[in-house]
Symmetry: C2
Subunit: 329 residues, 2 copies
């Protein structure tokens, strides 16, 4: 087991400084940080049991995502775990599987002081109250009383229109699928509509409404088929609210023998790569996943340490080419 | 906070039964299991602090994987988390990132009784001693004193040969890449060689040796190019130790204008799907990921409860078609 001396050595400070930090006395911010990180890294524990005290910190953060089978969430968790480890924190991984019951189980842990903070991606609003005093940082979703880290979804929609227009697309279609609960994908559509209006471009929106199941491949095939005149699609540019949806659209376009990007250009949203490391699967509005993970972890650590933290962090998105848009001249 | 009464209600047993279990007295196996699961589910805690005692169980298992950016590991963790939750256990997710230091950090937690068990995928043998008395279950790697759950890698290699031969491939190539530390991929090659010999098929093996970086795309391109005579590849069937490697091979075959599966058939290993849920990316020897996760979690829970457990569980692999093999006549 690590001793107080080990912590002092690791942190490069005097034993007295470690003792001060552990007992909540004042030391410089930098020394406090060094000691806290060494305590976590070495797993140092004061003999709380003998004193009949509870350990004040668990150095554990619960990360709640819908599931990690979805590549975008796997990427986020991949970076979050590394960031947390850098701060000396461990990660409970919870997949809510879109079940409020499971969110609620992990929020209970927070109330029982078994985790110091929660990083969540789109979970039930109503459950959030169960976190008690535990700091909560949300990714890609803004809730009252929680800190939010997101990428710029509205501008993502604008950027898609800008890139399609710069490549000579004139009649645009936006497709969004799934529950309206995830408000961020709605902003993508709002940005798309605003940019089309500003540029005077013709556009349509295909929205699944509040159907959690969203569109399946056949729905999209039928919609596209109905919008063909003399073997040609009415649209020459399509933007989808996610890359997953974009890939389904690409498949249906191929079934209809519509050439991409020659006849119609396609831009998705998220920036998914081949096996998560290779080329982009389609042209896309890429979210800065690594920066989002870093900012979210930084926010939750600041909140745990009761340091000031920005309520809303919006990180920039970028356009990436993945073969479904033409080369800009 | 949950009371002893809540636990009794949840488990459907008398309060006295709960009390007996908590104090280590004898009750039926079934009641013991019910109570333990309810205790975990409800997060019930005896007032250990007041008694100056440590909580005997944390209902936490550390899951150590190289990283979850790799789709195969993300799939495994996806199922493991759900299985652990079913038993009322939480999961620390640790990505070792192929660094022994990080494995070692999580093994320390085990020694400090902060986790009840460890589920590991290919980590440093030398570190394993650090787990102390904590039950360790390995996936796809057999180590002394640990329980192992794996799929049948040797038969995977045999099966690849069998399926290629049944589809008229006669001159086979096996490609394996990366460190020899992961002994399981070596068994795939051994199965391949044994089956080729048994059938009297010509074969070659392209092995990166013990180079952890393995082959890159150019290495494979050059190798294939050197094995072409008059614009035709010497081989008409290729088996790769992983699907990731198989996809790289597929790309190089396309660059060389070799038609797949017409001129050469290709079988990978793992059974990766499009975005983890869709069609198989290439024809492959699929590992039963969900069954492996279930068996591994079951083993670690049995070991935590000091129940008997099988030292080695080998689960069957299956051949899946993914467009890189011809339709069998």
């Amino acid at each position: 087991m690590a001793t107080i001396k080990d912590v002092a050595n690791d942190a490069g400070v005097a034993v007295g400084t470690v003792s001060k930090v552990l007992n909540g006395h004042h030391v410089s911010e930098e020394n406090k940080r060094k000691v806290e990180e060494s305590v976590a890294r070495l797993g140092y524990q004061m003999n709380y049991y003998a004193r009949g005290l509870k350990t004040p910190y668990t150095y554990t953060v619960a990360v709640i995502v819908p599931d990690i089978l979805t590549p975008f969430f796997a990427c986020l968790v991949y970076y979050i775990e590394q960031e947390l480890y850098r701060y000396g924190y461990r990660m409970f991984l919870c997949q809510s599987m879109h079940e409020a019951k499971k969110d609620s189980y992990y929020l209970q842990l927070a109330r029982q002081n078994k985790v110091d903070g929660i990083l969540g991606i789109t979970f039930n609003t109503t459950e959030l109250s169960q976190a008690g005093d535990t700091p909560v940082v949300m990714i890609a979703r803004h809730l009252e009383n929680s800190v939010c880290v997101t990428s710029d979804n509205f501008h993502g929609g604008e950027l898609a229109v800008q890139e399609l227009a710069a490549r000579e697309s004139r009649r645009l279609l936006f497709i969004r699928s799934g529950s309206h609960l995830s408000s961020e994908t709605l902003k993508r559509g709002a940005g798309f509509v605003a940019a089309c209006k500003e540029r005077g471009l013709a556009y349509e929106v295909m929205d699944s409404g509040d159907d959690a199941d969203g569109f399946n491949a056949e729905d999209i095939y039928d919609y596209l088929w109905e919008h063909m005149i003399d073997g040609k699609l009415e649209f020459d540019g399509i933007y989808t609210s996610t890359d997953g949806l974009g890939l389904t659209v690409l498949e249906q376009l191929r079934r209809l023998h519509i050439q991409v990007p020659k006849e119609v250009q396609l831009i998705g949203h998220d920036g998914l790569r081949h096996l998560n490391r290779g080329a982009y699967l389609i042209s896309s509005i890429a979210q800065p996943v690594e920066d989002m993970a870093r900012a979210a972890v930084e926010s939750v650590i600041h909140r745990i340490r009761k340091e000031p933290v920005q309520e809303m962090t919006v990180l920039p998105v970028t356009f990436v080419e993945g073969g479904t848009t033409r080369i800009k001249e």
